[in-house]
Amino acid sequence: MAVGGTGTIPNRIPHRISNAENSFGDVSGKVVADFGCGCGTLGLASALLGAEYVIGIDVDSQSLEIASINAEDLELDINLVQCDINNLQWRGQTVDTVIMNPPFGTRKKGADMNFLSVALKVASQAVYSLHKTTTREHIKKTALRDFNAKSAEVICELRFDVPQLYKFHKKKEVDIAVDLWRFVPLKE
């Protein structure tokens, strides 16, 4: 499988989602959208778990091309759309579940919060998302107060090994703690 784009995710994440699928039934037979799909990892994992219709969305055309090749390699069928999540205009809660590994906003502050806000508008059943553990309280408060979430819970805590991106990073790799969340949106 070809990999590309930024922010590789630990390969245990599909496994975590699979556990979540067993407990909540948010994926199998459902319409699942992968926000910021990159090379398609999460969307393809959802398809493997039996999602009936998967839509991967990314701004980057090269990532989408890789996602499309990966899908072909795995003989899976996913639907791709090139769009900036911030400008996504869908009519209401048209998908069941959104699953995403948003940019953390290291370079662009609050990028992950924008993704979350949009995800909670288009999903009717659940939103799975990864956010830095240091922002846990903020995320919970904002999701419940401002973003149409009925519930917000951390399913598990993971560690990301982020390769050195900036000169000011002293260590070769920085280890950051990341939460896998499950949000339930309020019904329309």
Partner: protein, 122 residues
């Protein structure tokens, strides 16, 4: 791009209020068989804008969908088969999506609609 995806998209230009449904400009379309799942179709039916689906299917030459539909039709296998075909088996490969309000053209290449906006449209 399948017509289920088309049924979700609308023009996202700032200030546009009637950006749905996008009109299809078809240069090339393909048909791919997909496994039939009646439970999925029944769940989807309530979320679909029927008129938009009918017109989109027509622009690819598929005329079998009834003009109007209601949930009582979901008992008919014949209806479900047509709904299935229009929703999941027709793909716009090359062409464009046109905003009904502004006429803005969103290109579709290799089956992927490009909904990115220009700076002055955000």
């Amino acid at each position: 791009m399948r017509l289920l995806t088309h049924n979700m998209l609308s023009c996202n230009i700032k200030g546009v209020t009637n950006g749905f449904p996008l009109r299809l400009e078809v240069e090339k379309f393909v048909e791919k068989e997909v496994e039939f799942n009646s439970d999925f179709l029944k769940n989807m039916f309530v979320k679909i804008e029927w008129k938009a689906l009918v017109n989109a299917a027509r622009s690819m030459g598929y005329e079998e969908l009834p003009e109007e539909a209601d949930s009582s039709m979901l008992d008919s296998d014949e209806f479900l088969k047509k709904f299935h075909h229009a929703l999941l088996e027709l793909h716009l490969e090359e062409g464009a999506l046109i905003c009904p309000e502004t006429g803005r053209r969103f290109p579709v290449n290799k089956g992927i609609p490009n909904m990115l906006l220009h700076e002055d449209e955000v």
